[in-house]
């Protein structure tokens, strides 16, 4: 398990709390940065790789992205990330309540790495978060943070 941050883009405080609880209960110890809307998320990511405001200049290991967001919605965030040279390989998992076919299609079309529906049953939710953490933070080899070919 690497030490890079997880970016959680979630506007619902309840969902944020539950997600954080699920991560904790699954022993995911990475720093979790929470952004409440799409604009904040974009600002955060662009500032990160641009000036390195947080001092690291390192992209998060994983973005957990809700689709229904104030200001700029999740799909637009995804589109902007995939358009940026630094962020276009960033692993993005869409984590949302919707199972609408159009949402799934649009997400994959914009380059989402995965699409996971938030189950209502918290037990199932725990299991989903456990598997996500295991896969994306342990099993999966992410793109190198430096040396992105230009």
């Amino acid at each position: 398990m690497n030490g890079k941050a997880i970016l959680l883009v979630e506007d619902d405080a309840d969902d944020e709390a539950l997600t954080l609880r699920a991560l904790r209960k699954n022993n995911v110890l990475n720093e979790v940065v929470v952004k409440r809307d799409g604009a904040q998320a974009i600002e955060y990511l662009l500032a990160l790789h641009g000036e390195g405001i947080k001092g690291t200049g390192v992209l998060p290991a994983l973005v957990l992205l809700d689709l229904k967001l104030p200001k700029v919605d999740g799909l637009e965030v995804l589109r902007r990330l995939r358009a940026g040279a630094e962020t276009r390989m960033l692993p993005v998992v869409v984590l949302t309540s919707s199972t609408e076919e159009q949402d799934i299609l649009k997400s994959y079309n914009l380059g989402a790495n995965s699409y996971v529906r938030k189950p209502v049953d918290f037990d199932q939710f725990l299991e989903a978060v456990r598997q996500l953490g295991l896969y994306w933070l342990v099993l999966n080899v992410g793109p190198p943070s430096r040396g992105v070919p230009r």
Partner: protein
């Protein structure tokens, strides 16, 4: 062939036929009539010639009679009056006066007392022609008149030429005998005389001997006619002239003289030119009237018909029912135009109605689309927003149970469990209602679907969910329908899933999927031997959230059959149920071979 060409052709043929017919008729009637008229005219002319000649003979006879019935001549012939000779015969005046060439005073004894010829040309006395002298031998009728009125006159064909001769008995002025001799006057019918005759009769005359080769053979063959009856022959000698022949017999009926007249065929020519003029004027009238008829036809019919036809063609090509053909006048063609316009008006009205209909249809379609969009937006919101609070309720209930373990009594824990169970039910209901709305919105794509194959795979999936159960599936082979594969899959999943669910308490469950014919159409059915239900409530089954069993008995939200019914409706089909409590249920559905929802 266009109407115009045909009309012109018919006119031309009719007119030409008329012209040819008239030409033939005029040749056989009019021209023949003219020819006969001409012949009669020529015959008449020749009779005039003969008449004129006869008049000459009569005149000559009259002159001879005057001389012969004269006391002085009566005395002179017996040699008693020399003064007669001196005053009447020594001079030439009488020859000129009477245009005579011979004067003979013959005594009844046969001796010629006085006789001389005379050439009227050069005014010289000549010998009496030999031929004549032979005719006045003693005993000849010319010199021996039998009584005082026994004079004779006629034509003599002498070797010297034809001669008019008159002989009168010499008697006293009181015409008393005894006859002392005869006076004979003769006049050659020479060229000059013929010319004079020509002038009198206004004909161009020549004389021919009877035996001349130029004389027509018919004349030569004519049998000797009764005395002095002229024989006349008339015949055309060409297209411009004709010949008339008059056969004159000699004094004794012997071979005589032929007078020939050349006559222009003025009457025939007149006839011909009249006929030609008539035909020409007829032709002119025909051509003119044809042109007039054509022009009128063109004006009144053809051009208008063509205009009408062109107008209709243009309107047809443009498909513009608001256009009208022009209508002039009050005749049949105008009526045709009006009928066309009335038809166009009806067409236009129909088009307008159709347009209004399609506009209404478009409006309805737009309204429907708007409603669908709104429904979609609503479903989207439901999908997102209705789940989130449920997730919070569930999540925090569990967090409460975990984080405050031991601080709640068993009843508190039970309440928490109930909260979580209700949350799950609510979640399922949301999922199902979203499924139902998706079925409503989704476009129906029609294709051939193998229902038997689809049912087998659904059955296999059901078996996998509960491998421990023993369920007999009887699925008929070769069942197929036209419909949306995805939607039909949902329908079969629901129907077979229900059968699976409601046979869960049967040790030997049987689920049958087959088809039968009802009223000539194929009806599919899914039959089970499960819990069944009271048929009285069958109608409620297909409304959303309506259930005939408690969730405790059989889990479910009551949306499945509503979904099935909506799928069947969207295909233009139908679903209904028959059942008996504790015996099982049968669900029937139909799918149209083709068609269904538009």
């Amino acid at each position: 062939m266009s109407l115009r060409t045909r009309t012109l052709l018919i006119l031309a043929v009719v007119f030409l036929g008329l012209l040819v017919g008239l030409g033939i008729a005029s040749k056989f009637t009019v021209l023949r009539g003219f020819a006969r008229l001409e012949e009669e005219q020529a015959d008449e002319n020749m009779r005039h010639v003969v008449g004129a000649l006869n008049d000459d003979i009569v005149d000559l006879k009259g002159v001879a009679r005057d001389w012969a019935g004269w006391d002085d001549a009566y005395a002179y012939i017996d040699g008693q009056d020399d003064a007669f000779f001196q005053s009447n015969l020594s001079g030439d005046t009488s020859f000129y006066n009477y245009r005579i060439n011979v004067m003979l005073f013959i005594h009844s004894s046969g001796s010629i007392v006085f006789g001389t010829g005379f050439d009227l040309e050069d005014g010289q006395r000549t010998l009496v022609p030999e031929g004549l002298l032979r005719q006045v031998q003693p005993g000849s009728p010319l010199v021996s008149p039998e009584h005082t009125e026994g004079g004779m006159a006629g034509l003599l064909d002498l070797p010297e030429g034809p001669m008019l001769v008159a002989s009168e008995p010499i008697v006293t002025s009181m015409r008393q005998g005894p006859i002392r001799g005869a006076v004979i006057f003769g006049r050659f019918l020479d060229t000059k005389e013929i010319q004079r005759l020509s002038r009198t009769t206004l004909l161009s005359l020549t004389s021919l001997p009877l035996q001349d080769p130029r004389t027509p053979s018919e004349l030569r063959a004519v049998p000797s006619p009764s005395a002095n009856r002229p024989y006349i022959l008339v015949r055309p000698s060409g297209s411009a002239s004709m010949e008339g022949y008059a056969l004159l017999r000699g004094l004794y009926g012997q071979s005589g003289l032929v007078l020939k007249a050349e006559m222009p065929r003025t009457i025939y020519a007149q006839g011909r030119s009249t006929t030609l003029a008539f035909l020409a004027s007829l032709a002119a009238i025909g051509v003119t009237s044809s042109m007039v008829v054509t022009l009128l036809l063109e004006r009144m019919v053809l051009r208008r018909v063509c205009d009408l036809s062109a107008g209709v063609r243009d309107i047809g090509a443009q498909g513009d029912a608001s256009a009208r053909v022009s209508v002039l006048g009050r005749d049949e063609i105008a009526a045709l135009g009006q009928s066309i316009n009335q038809m166009l008006e009806r067409l236009q009205r129909l088009q307008r109605e159709q347009q209004r209909g399609s506009e209404e249809l478009a409006q309805k379609a737009a309204a429907l689309e708007t409603a669908n969009k709104e429904l979609e937006a609503f479903s989207y919101s439901v999908s997102h927003d209705l789940r989130a609070p449920l997730r919070s309720i569930d999540g925090f209930s569990q967090a409460l149970g975990e984080d405050y373990e031991g601080k709640l009594d068993t009843q508190g824990d039970d309440y928490l469990q109930r909260i979580r169970a209700a949350t799950q039910r609510m979640s399922h209901m949301i999922d199902d209602i979203l499924g139902l709305s998706r079925v409503t919105r989704q476009e129906v794509r029609r294709e051939r679907v193998d229902l038997s194959e689809m049912a087998r795979s659904v059955a296999a999936e059901l078996q996998q969910t509960q491998p421990q159960r023993t369920v007999d599936f009887a699925i008929a082979d070769g069942m197929a329908a036209t419909g949306d594969k995805g939607l039909l899959q949902v329908a079969l999943e629901n129907l077979l899933g229900n059968a699976w669910k409601f046979t869960s308490q049967r040790p030997s469950a049987l689920i049958e999927f087959g088809s039968t014919l009802q009223d000539g159409r194929q009806v599919f059915f899914v039959k089970d031997n499960g819990a069944g239900f009271n048929t009285a409530y069958a109608g409620k089954l297909f409304s959303p959230f309506q259930r005939l069993h408690s969730p405790g008995e059989f889990p479910g939200t009551g949306v499945g059959l509503a979904t099935v019914q909506r799928i069947m409706h969207r295909h233009g089909g139908r679903v209904w149920a028959e059942a008996e409590e504790e015996k099982g249920a049968t669900f029937y559905f139909t799918l149209p071979a083709t068609g269904g929802e538009a």
